[in-house]
Amino acid sequence: MNLKNSDITIPVALGSFFPQNLEESALMNRKADDGHGIVAELLPWYVNGTLGSKEQEWVAGHLADCPKCRVELEQYQQLSSVISNNTETPDWQPSPAHFGQILSALDAEENGVIRNVAVVKKPSFLGQCADWLQAQAKPLVWALALETIVLAALVLFVVLPRLDQQTSGQTVFQTLSDAHAPTVAGLPRVHIVFADDIMIGDLRLLLVSVNARLVDGPSKLGVYTVELATVGNPDATALAIATLRKHSKVKLAEPVHP
């Protein structure tokens, strides 16, 4: 937004918008100025109707006798109405999705995710994460970040076996967005982390809907392994994983690499 004076058309009605006598009725002189300063100070709350009855009466009484302060009142009312009619700021509205995030953060907090992470023996990175998190004075503020980090840690944990398998001299980069990696011999498997409040009925429905069955879990990190009946069909595997990820009670669904 570049503002140049030449771009501006001044609406005539706005000419008297701002208090010119604000300076002279400054607070410092309030005792000597017969109350104009106090009125100037209280006007915003006189206008929004939140003054106590005594103050309200006092200001009203002063305004009735003081043309100077009435001018200021009018100017303040105009400023106030421009500010309250200003629709330039985009609105924010609550939503079920956002509330869902809050509940997840709350669950993460209540189920002591920090302790769970600290329990993991193997990767010291996770230990460091936990130490760092615990060092933060206000876990509340970090609840969301915490959940993200824990999920990231889970992702690391889930891919670690793959990294372990890499042969020397041949670096394998397997990104997490690889949608499928069906085993040749067996059925494709997926690691899943469910929300803590998932109901057993929902779980069953979800698994049936993607034609999957639970084969392992939960691990210490709460990771379950399911097997998909989509062998030899990468598209169906990708679709099943996408369906799992879309479910509101699934926090993580990653294909298991053979």
Partner: protein, 214 residues
Amino acid sequence: MIRHAEQTQGLNEIAQESEKQGLLLMGKIANQDRKAFEDLYFGYTPRIGRFLMKLLKKRELVDEAVNDVMLAVWQQAGRYDPAQGKLSTWLFGIAHNKGLKLLERQRRHQCEETFLSQSSPSENGQEPSGVDAEWIGSDNPERTVMGWEMGEHLLWAMELLSLEHRTVIELAINEQCSYQEIALITDCPVNTVKTRMFHARKKLAELLASKDYP
């Protein structure tokens, strides 16, 4: 603008009823009632979110701040004391606090980025910084009434106010808070609130005058 006695009476009754409802919700939330928690979220966050949007400007940040506020409510519901003030005041106080923390974090990030890139797009203070693109670029039909130049100038002037000044203006004008409530929300003495409001108005007037508004 000055309310009639009957009107005030009616409004008081509505306000008292809503305070009673709020208190009831808080009691349930203190007992880990998630339905009450949800009701509080949908009942109170439209105002909290609107206020935070004015402070933080970005939806993602407001999402995060409201999240922080709600978690604090869940954990501290039992500590809410109606004798200290209205529930909305208590919630605004938490929101103000969380909002400031996020702003501080963002400021630190920006400092780091500026340090790394050795350049800042808005160093001269003439451009409103950190404003959502949708805010400025939107084709908002409602902004024609007062003349959209005024809207843009006001926005520009508000951006140049200090955070304290902007906050007191938002709370007094858009949230109809009393000066005592603003003192509770921003955790400062009532005289400071009055002085801030006075200087905020003066500063706004000066800024707009510099854009040829007499």
